[in-house]
Each structure stands twice: as C-alpha cells, then as structure tokens.
Symmetry: C2
Subunit: 590 residues, 2 copies
C-alpha cells in the first residue's frame, strides 16, 4: 500500500477528550474516529488490525471444534421475555419498536437466540455436544461510554455457546475453549493471564476471565508468587488470619472525635493505625428472604434483633479500616441484598442513632457480619453510634456478643494465597475474554432439551465463551507502546514492513530502489506500507513509529552508495545495515 | 468437516411459508433459519457461502483501489438531519432513542457517515480521489420483508463511496468499479448483466445496475438482440414509431359500452385490438410548479385549460391499451408530480364528469400528455368522459387539438433498440449491484469540500457503489438449482467435495478408504464434507445434492473391489470411476 493512496490520517496532537493511552494512540495513528458517543468508525489501518485479531480468534475457535454461525443484531423481544432478561436488564439493553410497533432489542449477547436455534434444530443426544459461535457486531447502551473502543457501545465480539447433556461433557468443551483462548492470546503476542472469576448473578459453576496485563487495566487480578493460582480480585478468597485473636487488654471507652468521620480522619485524630479501626457499613437486607428464613439465619440473636431487622431491613458489615469491602463477596452472604445496596442516610440514622461517620457494631440490634480479618482485632476503635464520638478498646465477644464472621474484603498484596502456596501479588488487567459454565439458566427457562439415551426429554446444560475482539486491539496497545506510539506485536500489526525513502522526490536512485524493494517485499507476501508522500523524513519516521509498523526500511543516499539500506526494528529499537539484495531474505528470517 | 460433528439441519419438506425457490432451498439445505420477520440466522453451511461471496467482493474491490473501513451500524440523527434524509425517508429508516433519549437510526446506507468522515479527514485535492468501502450489516425496516434473505430487514452489504473534484475523476473510478463488479460476478460463476439504470430521485448523472439473470427475478431487464445495449425496463427508452401517422378515416362516434371498463373488457365488447384503444390515466400535477411555470409549460393551451389545471391539479396521461405506463418516465415529465400520484376517483369525476373506466382525452380542459406510440394511432377508441360510453374513430389533431407527446411507456419485446441496432429482448433479473454517479447531493448538503489546486474551497463530487452480499447468495440459487436442490458454482460452494461412504458403519474397508480420502483431500486444501452419519445411502445422497456440493465421491463395496470410487459431478450429473490413488489428482484437475 502506498501512503499517497491511503487514508493515513495521523495526528500530531493528543486529542483532549481521550483519557487513556490506547484511545489517544488509536486516534493519533488514524485507526479509529468517533462518530458519536461510544460509536467508532474503523479507519483502514485500524480495520487491518481488527481483522487480524478476528482471524486468529476464528482459527483457534475452529480448531477447538466450534462451528461458526451468524445471528441477527436485531432480535425480537419475545425471546428476551421468555428468558426473563427483558425485565431484568436495565437500560444497557437497547429496546426499540419497529414500524409495526413490535418490540425489539439490539443484541448485547445472544444466549436467547442461540438457545432458541438449538432447541429447534437439535433433537437427539446423538447431536451433542455442539459448540456454535459467531464473530459479530454487538450493542450495549453503556451509561457512560469511554476509553474509545475499550468501552464502546457498538463493538465486535466473538461469542460461543455450547450445549451438553452432562457436566463432564461441558467440562471437556470448557477445557478445550480455555486452551483455545490461551492459544489465541499467545498467537496475538500478548502478555495475558487466565484468572478464576466470579460467576456473578447467573450463578454458574465455574468461570475464568482472560486478562491482558497492563498498568492501566480496570481490573485488579491476583496471583500467587509461588503457584499457578490466579483470580480476579472479586473472586480471590481472603483466608482467615491464623492463630488466636489477641486477648482484650483495654476497657471500652467513649472518646470525642469531633469532625473525624472518615477512617483516615479518625486514625489521624486518635493516632492509631487504620488497621486498628473497624469500619461499619450498613446495607440492605436480602429482600427475597421470608421472615422465617431471616429467623433461621439469626438463630442466636435476641428477639429484638430479629424484630428490628425485619422492620429496618438493614444489616451491618464490619471490615478493617485498611481493607476494602468486596461487594461481590458481600452479596453472596445470605442476609445481604444482591445487588448490594447501601442503606440510606436516614435509615442509618434510624437504626444506629448516628450519621454514617460515627457508626459501629456495639449495641446494634441488627445482624452484624464481620470480616475474618476484622474479627481478629482486639482493643480496636469503632464508631460509638453517636455523632462525633468513637469507642476505643472495643473487643468482640465482650462488647459485641452476637455476630457472624465471613469473607467480606478484597485481598491485599502479601495476603497468603488461598491455594496454600505463596503470597498474593496484585496486578492490573484488561478483561478481553470470559468463559463460563452457564448450567441451565437459559435452557431451563426456554425449555431447551433433547431426547437422551434413555429416550427421555432432558434439559441441556450450557457453556458460553466470549472474546472482546475490538477491545483486544485497545488492550494490545495499552500493553505495547512507548512515547513514540504503538509497538504492535507482529501478528496483528497493520503492516509488517514500512519503506521510508528519504527525499525520494529529489532522487531517481532512491525512488528506483524504494520501488524495487516495494515490489520484491510485496511479491514475497509481506504487507508493506510504502511511504511515497512528499514529506520530510522526520514526518515519515514519526508516522511509521506512531502507527507501530514493526520493521522500517530506510532508503537514503549515503547507504545506497554501498548498495545498502537501514533496517530499524520498531520493537527493540535495533538498527541494522542490509545489502539491498539481502532485504527480502533478512525480513523473512525475522 | 464431518457431518456427525456439524450442524447440517437439512429438511425434506418444503416449508409452507417460503414463496420462492431460493428461500425454500436455503431453509431445506440448512443454510438459514428465520428468527423473526426479515431476520435470519446464518447456519454453518450458509455462512460458508456468504463468507466466500464476501471475500471475492473484497478482493475485487481492493483491486479497484478502494480502501476498506468499517462504520457503525448505529448512527446519530444529526447527520441525517443535515443531509435532509431524516425527514425525507419513510418508516423504512428505523429510528430509535438511546437511554439518554437522543435520536439514532439503524444504518440502511452510510452516505452521511462517510461524507462526515471525509470532510473531516480530507482537506486537500492532493488526497483525492479516494474510494472508501465497507462490508457491513445493514438494516432496512421493510414494510413487507419476504423471500428470505432476498428481501430481509437485516442484510450484509458492500457499500463504497468515492470522492472527487472533477467529473472526469469520478468517471474513472466509476469505470474501475464497473469493471470490478464484472470481475466479481464472473468470479462468482453467475450469469449476470450490467444494465443502464434510472438515477431516480437523487438525480445523479449515470447509474448501472448489475443483475443476476433468473426467471424469478423481480426486475425486467431489456437487451438489444444485436448490440451491447442493456437497461432496466424503468430506464429503457421507447423510440417513437417511424413514419407518418395513418390518416383519419372514421368519424368520431359515441358508443354505449355498458359494464366495459377495463381495456380488455372494452376490446372484447367492441371487438377491437387493445392496441387500438387509448388508455387515459389521471395523475397529480407537479406540486412544485408555480402558476407561471405551469403557464409556460402550457404555452399553446387555451386560458380555460390553464385555469382548470391550476384549480384541479390534475394531468392526463395517454398510452396505448396494450402498453404499460412507466412511472419513472412519467415522473420525469415536468408537469407530473414525482413520486407519481394517481388522481382520486372524486378528482377524476370532477375533472372529466366520468368514473375512471370511461375517461378519455377528448374535450378535457387539463394538460394531455400522450405517449409516442399512442400518438401514432388513428381511428382509435377512448373513453367518452361519460359513464358507460366510449368514442370510436377518434383522431389526434382533429378531435384532440392540444396535447404533448412524450415517452411514457415500458418497452415491449420486439421494440427497436434505442441504440439503433437490433430489437429489444426482455429477461428477468435480480438486482445484486448498483453503481451510481451521485454528484454533490450529499457533499453540498453537508458542505464537504477541500482546497483545490487554486487554493479555493470546492465541494466534492461523489460516486456510490453497492453490492447486496447476502442477496447474492439467494440470487445464485435462483439461477442455479434443479429439482434435487442447489447447484453451487464451485467458487462459492460451501464445500467443494462430499465424501459419501455407503454403509460405512458395517464395513471397516469402506470406513478406512473414506477416512483416507478425507485425510488426503483435506491435506490437498479442499473443503471436504465427510458424511460419516449412520444414515442410509439414499438419505446421504439426497442431502449432498440438496446442499449442492459440486463433487461427490461415493465409496461403495463393489467399486472398492477394484480399488475404485465413483465421482459424481453435481452440476453436470456426469459420473466417473476413479482409481483410489487417483482421486486427489483428478479433483485438482477439475
């Protein structure tokens, strides 16, 4: 491709509204342009990368035995009503009416459509297992689209869905897809990690996310420094502290803490470490529980606690001041509403008699759920349930008699690994893939079954497997860039080789050499970007670096005197002099 | 691919709701499934064909110098308001609101988006011409989607848009795209014709449609039997009859024609040929004309005609009884409203004094526009503007003094070709491509210009070029099928070779031979469908014929005795005995 006949569209300036480096570089390198909020046009060089990612994904998913189909973007509402998601999903599911006033959605995923297809096309156990996938444009009406194609409204996704009659069969396909995902990200040339993930509201039995490691990643992922253990921080278990809780040595004492509300303020005021303070958060009771169920869950509590809990619908969560609440873990506690809802300030005041900054577990007549680490504290500080006051010298069992203990917090660096080996390390990751043992969430609701070996109708069990194809492009840049621009892994670079002739328009010799190299390299099957613009060499170098072409061949007068050109490796910065006659062979060997 | 691990999904029965053969065969062969009205899921074998068509289109369009981009399906309303199409387009343009109540559309085409992109990215004549395309899912909310993917609501389209500063440059790209389209349809293995097309409401200067010839085609296309002339019937010019109009020989006579209203009824009642009757159709006056403009267009008319025309807003069109009105031609007459609107029955009665079945041009005080062929009639029959009566022996100039002559009818077989050579032949076609010299319709409205060589801002001129990728799949079937199923051209067959082992599950020898062939043919790069199901041979033969695999290798006991297999050519029906060792070489040579 000649730049003179191409839509290069590079920019020198960093666009003001692009917050992250991949978004900035994709705009500057002319890979995408914003059409409207969360909607992007892929320009030629961006599309080349996208298609390469797509093709690697397709090849590896095919190898794993999945079969490609293509489902519509536009789906009718009836299927979503059948699965229950029409009501459950919020405005992220874009709903609209067609000309006949029938309800439709723009597909954010295709569980319903594929389950409908399979229940119609597959009737016998002999046709199972089957794994169907598509690579297709999807739409999610994000409340706040941002970060360019990283969190766009319209995006390209690979979504696969497998159907089985046994957990064993599901596990086999799941393992094959796990391996396919590892192959994909390895072939893409990315530093990635598969991590255990939470199965979320759907409640399947197993799930892994695949993360591209990058300092800018939105997700915290957790590894053991001595084993293969890796998990999303949402999922990573915090082991209970070992050994006995220290004995109480101090009396409980009420102290005035004027204007000290946050943990940091209280710690500074009382000159205590945040780790010696218990933070108390009031959240809503699980609204799905009946009175009898609450009663069973509060078997050891006094009658007034049960009564007050049922009336106030509030539960107290206690974690150490230096720890973060893990909302996913909290939601899993049977007493806690899922999704998690914090109690309103009025509710906090009504239940505790104080505003949120002065709340503590002492004397509360609602359930108190304490994180393992907080439950290991002695002589600690808490709010006194009285505005402007805290207690010091608080101790469990003596001052707080009825409470439950659970894993409620995010792990922190240095925590012991839940696998039993090593300590935890935390890194940032960008989620680019997610595999999931779905179970019968959709197949049951939609009555998708087949005749099994005994001739009986049996509901299928499902797996689903997603790859964010367009997101991978951004994630690859987050991981591979420097101050000059993108450093594409060779497998997904828009072009493999750039030819940069210096002042070609003033020198027939340079022009001829460059044209000849362009011909030879193209004939050898390389994707070559030939910069034949009438631009200064500096502009051309800068554009090729920005665009991230891995190999640059610089054709200049002085080197031509010796029948040589310079080869620059964009990834390593290495420069090499090559004989003109040797260029194709050398590039091939790289 | 093994059928046992594939989603074959063939059906014996013809689905009741599929009206045309391609839709029936695509359902029966398991190529597509209907999700909802006009929305189809592409099953694995259908998708294989679709992707092959897509790839051939991509390769040829790339060769023509166009550059691929990818624009969003979802577009914001502002661009459509800027171009004026937000108001102009009917419900076919699907409009919806996002979660923030902003207006959006699902893109039926992308003129607005690409024009917006180019006005932002291209600033100088040096960057022109440029031709950008995409292959992308589009949505058109058809009032009555039908014929499967032939007229679906969601479909796959290749749309290209070129930008220029001169008509000469536009013509060059147009010619290159014309050639690319010819290459595409030739490579696809389809019998096609490019035909001159009407430029329609957009009013560009030149347009060609590409039609796949098929008896079931919705469009009539017209050829000369002695030259290259080819046009859509909408566009094909009807030459005026040669020679003098015969002289009048009969007096105008009013005859009762009770209950004879249609041309056929009048012809039968009066025992005259339909070609001797003039049919009169009242349509609405062009509402964009001012009184002075109407006056200028009716220079020779009496004052009462002008006055009555301005009051009634109605124009009479006269064509021969055996001819069809060509609405596109009629709309182009300056007096006639575009789009064409027939006068209501009340208006007809008010203007003529009769109901539509008895209307004629004699004595009308509105403009009369007569088709060339009708204007050549003498002693003809027309309605008498009196219910139940016609005139015979009517003659122009004597009985109808003020009228205009124009080309208003569809050509018919045998008409002289407008190119001057040969007679016209009419065939049926399916429109699968359309190229168009757009002019500045969008670039003017959206102020898309660049600095020209003189340093002045100049609005660009545009071309646009569409291919209905998913429609091609259906059109190919309409053209290539027999009573057993689809007969794919090799270039787009879902598989090139089918291996059909007879009773493999009872014979180790057959199984081994079939497996060996499968291995060898796959290794040689062929796409092979290996029918390893436990099915009767008849079922397997029928499925492979239905699916349209071009070459079937039948592995049977008796032939294996001689180390042979049978090769059946699905397209020609030919059968050949091949030595086992010779199969790969033979298939390669085909």
């Amino acid at each position: 491709m000649r730049t003179s006949q191409y839509l290069l569209s590079t920019m020198k300036e960093t666009p003001a509204d692009a917050e992250i480096i991949s978004h900035q570089l994709m705009l500057r390198a002319g890979m995408v342009r914003r059409l409207a909020s969360g909607l992007y046009t892929w320009l030629p060089s961006g599309l080349r990368v996208l298609r390469k990612v797509e093709q690697i994904v397709r090849e590896e998913i095919n190898k794993a035995g999945a079969i490609e189909v293509l489902m519509p973007v536009v789906q009718h509402a009836e299927l979503w009503q059948e699965s229950g998601r029409w009501e459950k999903m919020d405005a992220e599911l874009l709903r609209f009416k067609d000309r006949h006033q029938r309800d439709f959605v723009l597909g954010p995923t295709h569980e319903e459509v594929i389950t409908d297809l399979v229940r119609k096309e597959i009737s016998s156990y002999k046709q199972l297992p089957i794994n169907l996938y598509q690579i297709q444009t999807k739409f999610r009406d994000e409340r706040r689209p941002r970060f360019g194609v990283m969190r766009a409204r319209e995006f390209l996704m690979k979504d696969a869905y497998s159907f089985h009659l046994s957990q064993e069969s599901l596990q086999q396909t799941y393992d094959a897809m796990y391996q396919a995902y590892c192959n994909i990200f390895t072939r893409l040339g990315l530093d990635f990690r598969p991590v255990l993930a939470d199965t979320g509201a759907i409640g399947g039995s197993m799930s892994h996310e695949f993360h591209v490691l990058a300092a800018s990643g939105e997700d915290a992922i957790v590894f053991s420094d001595e084993s293969d253990y890796a998990a999303n921080i949402e999922k990573a278990e915090a082991l209970p502290p070992q050994g006995q809780r220290p004995a109480a040595t101090q009396p409980k004492t009420e102290v005035a803490t004027p204007n000290a509300k946050s943990i940091d303020e209280v710690a500074a005021f009382l000159k205590r470490d945040a780790a010696a303070i218990a933070k108390t958060l009031l959240v809503q009771l699980n609204p799905e529980l009946s009175f009898d169920e609450v009663k069973a869950l509060l078997a050891n509590a006094d009658a007034d606690v049960l009564e007050n809990t049922w009336r106030s619908k509030v539960v107290a969560l206690v974690i150490r001041g230096d720890h973060e609440l893990n909302e996913i873990k909290a939601e899993k506690h049977p007493l806690v509403a899922s999704p998690l809802q914090f109690a309103s300030e009025e509710d906090v005041l009504a239940v505790t008699g104080a505003k949120p900054g002065s709340v503590g577990p002492v004397g509360l007549t609602i359930p108190v759920v304490v994180d393992h680490a907080a439950a290991h504290l002695a002589d600690f500080v808490t709010g006194a349930n009285k505005d402007g006051f805290h207690f010091t010298g608080v101790n469990f069992d003596r001052d707080i008699t009825t409470y439950q203990v659970a894993d409620l917090r995010n792990v922190v660096e240095g925590d012991p690994s839940p696998c039993g080996k090593g300590k935890l390390v935390i890194r940032r990751g960008i989620e680019v893939g997610h595999i999931f043992q779905l179970g019968d969430r959709y197949s049951s609701a939609m009555k998708a079954g087949v005749l099994n070996e005994e001739g009986k109708h049996q509901i299928m069990t499902m797996g689903c497997y997603g790859v964010g194809v367009s997101r991978i492009v951004a994630a690859a840049i987050e991981q591979n860039h420097d101050e000059y621009g993108i450093k594409w892994p060779v497998a997904i670079a828009p072009f493999q080789v750039a030819i940069v002739p210096m002042n070609m328009h003033k020198s027939v010799r340079i022009q001829e050499a460059a044209e000849q190299l362009y011909k030879e390299l193209s004939a050898a099957g390389f994707e070559v970007l030939f910069d034949d613009r009438k631009e200064r060499p500096g502009v051309m170098f800068a554009d090729m670096e920005l665009l991230g072409v891995p190999y640059h061949i610089i054709v200049g007068e002085r080197n031509l005197d010796e029948q040589k050109v310079e080869l620059k490796n964009r990834l390593t910065g290495e420069k090499l002099m090559l004989a003109l006659s040797d260029v194709v062979a050398q590039i091939k060997s790289l």
